[in-house]
């Protein structure tokens, strides 16, 4: 099942002409520079903007086509705006109940206790909306949207405008949402960090057009896309916690390409976590080095080389099928005689554990 959209919005200087098909499960990040039409796309999906001859189908339901335009209030979606937009004339509790009361009881799948617990808004219920911090307001707004039992959750940069502390406070809740609810999420963001943490799929938007879309790990390592290049180029891996080294205080994580050792974290065996590896933290050797301080070394196959300015080269590697990027100098690439298909060893200096 998918969410299929072909939406056009014309606003004079700016136009959106987006065609996309994304899975109706997991988190799909809509990513692009500001002004690329991310918010407009989300608003068009919600029915808050209406353009000519659009088409939108969510699962089995057609929300818009030549003869149909389901108005926003009849679309089973939840929308969280960039600023929390709580109703200032209502208490926190009444804000939460606003959408909940308007959903017929038989259609309710998210109950009050669940939504309240999921986002930790229990202690805020009796407070006045004016007295909440930015992070708290956004958590209430997310719960409020969830309480309409949406078939699709739209989040428009919910962390933008929040300070680092509030962001750090909300991200775990968003991750829980991701794990506990089976609601597909479209998440607009311009932050690579949020995308790396939360997204399963990625839609790249540029000047109102969809540049590419696909599974996050593939998208980050495609040489024809901007994410592949630059200082922040990165790969994401999913790994399973397989054990802890008590003596050295390390946690072992397994992925198809081998086993990582990272500084010990309180994780349960069997838990699946997301790892982020920056291209600049991966170096390559022809032999498996033994006399090195680097713990995480994997045999990999070179898949593709792409010039990265005059002096550097970006290399896409396959570690048991999982793509990893390595950024090295052109001189090193030449001296190692790297060509697609060549088997080398990747030494990974730093791994960031995202959950």
């Amino acid at each position: 099942m998918t969410i299929d959209a072909r939406l056009r919005i014309d606003r004079g200087a700016f136009s959106l002409d987006a065609e996309l098909s994304v899975p109706d499960r997991g988190v799909t990040a809509i990513f692009g520079p500001s002004g690329s039409g991310k918010t407009t796309l989300l608003r068009a999906i919600a029915g808050l903007e209406r353009g000519p001859d659009g088409f939108l189908k969510v699962g089995q339901e057609v929300w818009q086509d030549a003869g149909t335009f389901v108005p926003p209030h009849q679309r089973p979606l939840g929308y969280v705006f960039q600023e929390a937009s709580l109703f200032s004339h209502l208490s926190v509790k009444a804000n939460l109940e606003y959408g909940y009361k308007r959903v017929t009881p038989s259609a309710r799948r998210v109950e009050m206790e669940h939504a309240v617990a999921l986002l930790g808004v229990d202690p805020l219920l009796s407070r006045d909306t004016e007295d909440l911090s930015g992070g708290e307001r956004q958590r209430v707004a997310i719960s409020r949207a969830l309480l309409t039992s949406p078939a699709l959750l739209l989040l428009d940069e919910p962390l933008t405008g929040l300070d680092l502390e509030s962001k750090a406070e909300i991200v775990p809740y968003l991750e829980r949402l991701h794990e506990e609810l089976e609601i597909p999420v479209l998440y607009v963001s311009h932050s690579p960090d949020e995308v790396a943490r939360l997204a399963d799929h990625l839609v790249l938007l540029q000047q109102g057009r969809v540049l590419a879309s696909g599974e996050i790990r593939q998208m980050l390592t495609r040489s024809d896309l901007p994410l592949f290049h630059g200082d922040e180029a990165e790969a994401i891996l999913e790994a399973t916690v397989v054990g802890h080294d008590e003596a050295y205080e390390l946690t072992q994580l397994e992925f198809p390409g081998g086993r990582f050792n990272v500084t010990r974290r309180d994780l349960e065996i069997g838990q699946v976590v997301r790892l982020r590896i920056l291209a600049r933290d991966v170096s390559l050797t022809l032999e498996h080095q033994i006399d090195t301080s680097i713990l995480n070394i994997f045999p990999v196959t070179v898949e593709e080389l792409a010039d990265e300015g005059p002096a550097q080269v970006m290399v896409r590697l396959s570690a048991g099928g999982a793509p990893i990027l390595s950024r090295i100098t052109r001189r090193s690439a030449d001296s190692l005689q790297l060509t697609p298909g060549k088997r080398v060893y990747a030494q990974i200096k730093t791994v960031a554990l995202l959950a």
Partner: protein, 226 residues
């Protein structure tokens, strides 16, 4: 103390102002909502027409109303054709005149209040399953509450203070169209300064208290947060 005729004038004035305010809130709310939301270019024309009573001498408005409502005017004839009688020099005629005369005092604060509420809260309500009427009643109106209070008080107070229009279309029929402002004028004409003082002073205090209430309340209920 107040004489019976002055009390009657007070009663007519309050009845007129109350009824006018009620009608204006009912008619002005949809009009103000439309003005605050529409992208229609001709809206400036409507805005100018609504604002006309602010600048027009009341006697001008009264004059045309007299022609329209009188037995030979279009509305007067229509009324008589429908089996009624012309509205000039009746209480109903005064209500019609007052509604027009106080229109901007109700529509403008409401329009400002609805504009201040903005589109966002209504969009939020739409994504929370509220139909257009539902979100108007449960979001736009409560958020525009200070505007409603201002509109009601200004509409009421302005109608109480009306003179020129009443003089033109109402005359001074005791118990029917003789309002306070006319009564004061007549007392002064008759050199009954004591009775004029009583009414004039009373109006002054009443008007001040009403405005005080509006400003006081609007401080407590600030419009939408930043």
């Amino acid at each position: 103390m107040l004489t019976e005729t002055d009390l009657a004038a007070l009663w007519i004035t309050l009845k007129l102002a109350g009824l006018t305010t009620l009608i204006l809130i009912l008619l002005g709310t949809p009009l103000a909502w439309w003005l605050a939301r529409t992208r229609f270019r001709g809206k400036v024309v409507v805005e100018a027409v609504v604002a006309l009573p602010l600048v027009l001498p009341p006697t001008v408005l009264g004059f045309y109303l007299l022609l329209a409502l009188g037995p030979n005017g279009p509305i007067g004839r229509l009324m008589e054709a429908l089996g009624g009688h012309a509205l000039a020099f009746t209480f109903a005629g005064l209500v019609v005149g007052s509604v027009l005369y106080s229109l901007p005092f109700v529509v403008q604060p409401l329009q400002d209040a609805f504009s201040t509420v903005g589109r966002r809260p209504l969009e939020v309500a739409a994504t929370l399953r509220a139909s257009p009427l539902d979100r108007f009643l449960t979001v736009a109106v409560p958020l525009a509450r200070p505007g409603f209070l201002t509109a009601a008080v200004l509409g009421f107070a302005h109608t109480v203070g009306e003179f020129g229009v009443v003089l033109m279309i109402g005359g001074s029929i005791p118990g029917e169209t003789r309002v306070l402002s006319i009564a004061i004028y007549e007392h002064v004409e008759a050199l009954e300064y004591g009775r004029a003082h009583m009414l004039a002073g009373g109006l002054l205090v009443l008007s001040f208290l009403m405005l005080l209430a509006v400003y006081g309340w609007n401080r407590r209920f600030r419009l939408v947060r930043p």
